[in-house]
Amino acid sequence: MNGITQSTALWYASRATGVVSLLLLTGVVLLGVLVNRQGRLPGFPKFVVTGLHRNLSLLAVTFVAVHVLTAIADSYVSIQLAAIVIPFISSYKPVWLGLGAVSLDLVLALIVTSLLRARMSRRLWRGLHWFSYAAWGSAVVHSLYSSTDLQHGLLLYTAIACWLSVAVAGAWRMTQAGRDIPREGRAAATLDMMSPGRGPRRGRRDTPASQRPRTDTR
């Protein structure tokens, strides 16, 4: 079957928005890793990374919504409305569609908790935000097995690029984890960077701060 007709339009729309959703979610995960490492996009101020991460996640949800609604509306296979959010109850490919539902639920939970972030403890929010990797992972498996689109050709290469980029970003994040400047030394590190040579010198740990020589003042 080739060509978009009235009967296939919804089916094509669902597939296309599914692919775009995967790309967007991958972008959100990559930006999230960059936010976590306090990195920046070349040529942009720092807040652009955070802003893009947030806005792209909302855009991804819009595409996921269209993806889900067109799949339901399409009469080619019948999927119950409840299967959108309740995993593994679909009569058509229950496991693979179920993973899509899991991913959607997690993404919605991540967005709701992020909108309520000011009202919850930072630790809880951070803990919940770890589920973003699970949301992305289940979306990937869902996209690979729910249809045959991503199993060959150009879309397979696109999917592989998505997986690899997140894997590389995750590995980079793990290697960077130990390199955090502890908060006690952050201001000193910035000052050292701004006026090298006159920066503070690390004192011996067993010497109380009040007795350490101070070398940074003139």
Binding site: R183, A187, A188, L191, R198, R202, R205, A209, R214, R218
Partner: protein
């Protein structure tokens, strides 16, 4: 008003030496009938006699703390007195007490003697000279909010802490105290006395500020509502409980009643702690002659004022806030005419940057950049972009931290660029009023390097 010699931080406190220049302010010296300590000054320090004030002398002068027998009764009295916090924020004391007293959980009461501001000596001096007034205030505050968990938070200072422990032991032996008082170590950090940093430290974590709300009087030490009052505030509270609101209003102005302790840095290098009524002309506190070019009011989170302007102002927020400064914890420093205000500000800004807790990006990224750029402005023929950079970064740091450290530092730096504009022009020509760069404002010898320095 009696100047007292200051109490050194690390070499151990000495007693004050009454005498020296006697300033008088009209209306502040009327004695109270009956020989009781009157509305005159000083109130918190003994006008004469031996210092430190021991328990026997304290009791013979003030009698035991007047417990009211029921929580909450002191609150309307403090409201009528108009007592505000003497730690710098000038928050109405009765409001904090009322908020904590209404809480359902057992509250914690902490006397805050962590005087992180290097230019301030008044809390150390008060704790050394009149510890029993502070401890009276602590007990009365604990009764008012119905608390049994009471602490006194002071810097590690062997002699002062030993003396306070002896005072606490003497009081419980004499049956004066209803709740035991624990002495708690404050790390030697500028921010250690900030309320939420204090609550964090006493809860067992590093003494670093956190975002508010919840306010410390809602959720503080170990998540319990916590009343934190500066030690001087507690001493005033102890006197208001004895002599009432009208007596307290015998000093100060109608809007800003009472007296306060001030740390004065004269242009000749003298450093005194004095008690004075609010509304006292600044010119009668620090010498504003031709030897003084500017006055720093409010400490290192305060602002510079040109000496000529300072001469028109009084020690009150009504006068100082419109001038871009505030009363704060009562620090006034007269910068000698032969020192470089920019170099001094740069030196202090560097210290303040290093005292950042490193938690908020605008603070730990902004303040070091501002300090380094101010160093540039302080150097001969500086890069002309440095002042613009400082103003831009100042705007990015202002109001964007969990605590007021970035705001206060920015206020201090901005005022210097304004007040010492003439000096900046001289630097552009490669000249400076003080090429030798002799330091004037005090800053501590060492900075924090790791977590241990914050706890």
């Amino acid at each position: 008003m009696t100047p007292h010699t200051t109490v050194p931080q690390s070499t151990g406190p000495r007693g004050s030496q009454p005498g020296g220049g006697q300033h008088q302010h009209a209306g502040h010296r009327q004695a109270r009938p009956g020989g009781q300590p009157g509305g005159g000054l000083p109130r918190l320090f003994p006008a004469s006699g031996a210092v430190p004030v021991d328990l026997r002398t304290h009791l013979s002068r003030f009698a035991p703390p007047p417990y009211l027998g029921q929580p909450g009764r002191l609150i309307p009295v403090l409201r009528a007195a108009g007592l505000t916090g003497r730690g710098g924020a000038a928050f109405p004391v009765y409001r904090k007490l009322a908020a904590v007293a209404e809480a359902r959980t057992q509250p914690v009461v902490i006397g805050n003697g962590a005087e992180g501001e290097p230019a301030s000596d008044k809390d150390k001096s008060l704790l050394w000279i009149s510890p029993h007034l502070v401890l009276d205030g602590l007990q009365l505050a604990a009764e008012t909010v119905d608390s049994t968990a009471v602490g006194l938070y002071v810097h590690r200072n062997g002699r002062l802490q030993d003396r306070l422990r002896v005072a606490v032991a003497e009081r419980s032996a004499a049956g004066l105290d209803r709740v035991p008082v624990e002495i708690i170590d404050a790390p030697p950090r500028f921010l250690a006395g900030e309320e939420s940093a204090l609550a964090s430290r006493i809860s067992g974590a590093p003494a670093m500020p956190r975002f508010k709300p919840p306010r410390v009087f809602e959720r503080g030490v170990a998540g319990r509502p916590t009343l934190v009052q500066n030690v001087e505030t507690l001493a005033h509270l102890a006197l208001i409980a004895r002599y009432g609101p009208d007596w307290f209003r015998g000093a100060g102005t109608a809007d800003e009643p009472g007296s306060m302790l001030c740390t004065l840095h004269q242009a000749d290098g003298r450093r005194d702690v004095v008690e004075t009524g609010l509304g006292t002309p600044l010119g009668s506190l620090v010498h504003l002659g031709p030897g003084t070019q500017a006055v720093l009011s409010g400490g290192y989170h305060g602002a510079w004022l040109p000496a000529a302007d300072a001469g028109q102002l009084t020690l009150s927020n009504a006068h100082l806030v419109p001038a871009g400064s505030f009363v704060g914890a009562g620090i006034l420093a007269a910068l000698p005419a032969d020192r470089c205000g920019i170099a001094e500000t740069a030196r202090v800004a560097r210290y303040l940057a290093l005292e950042s807790a490193g938690q908020c990006g605008p603070c730990f990224n902004g303040l070091p950049r501002i300090a380094a750029a101010l160093d540039e402005v302080a150097s001969p023929r500086p890069d002309s972009r440095a002042v613009t950079d400082i103003m831009r970064w100042a705007g990015l740091a202002d109001g964007r931290g969990a605590c007021h450290h970035p705001d206060g530092t920015v206020r201090f730096v901005r005022s210097a660029l304004h007040v010492f504009a003439g000096e900046i022009q001289m630097h552009a020509q490669g000249r400076c009023v003080d090429p030798a760069r002799r330091p004037f404002l005090p800053i501590p010898a060492a900075t924090a390097m790791d977590a241990a320095d914050w706890s």
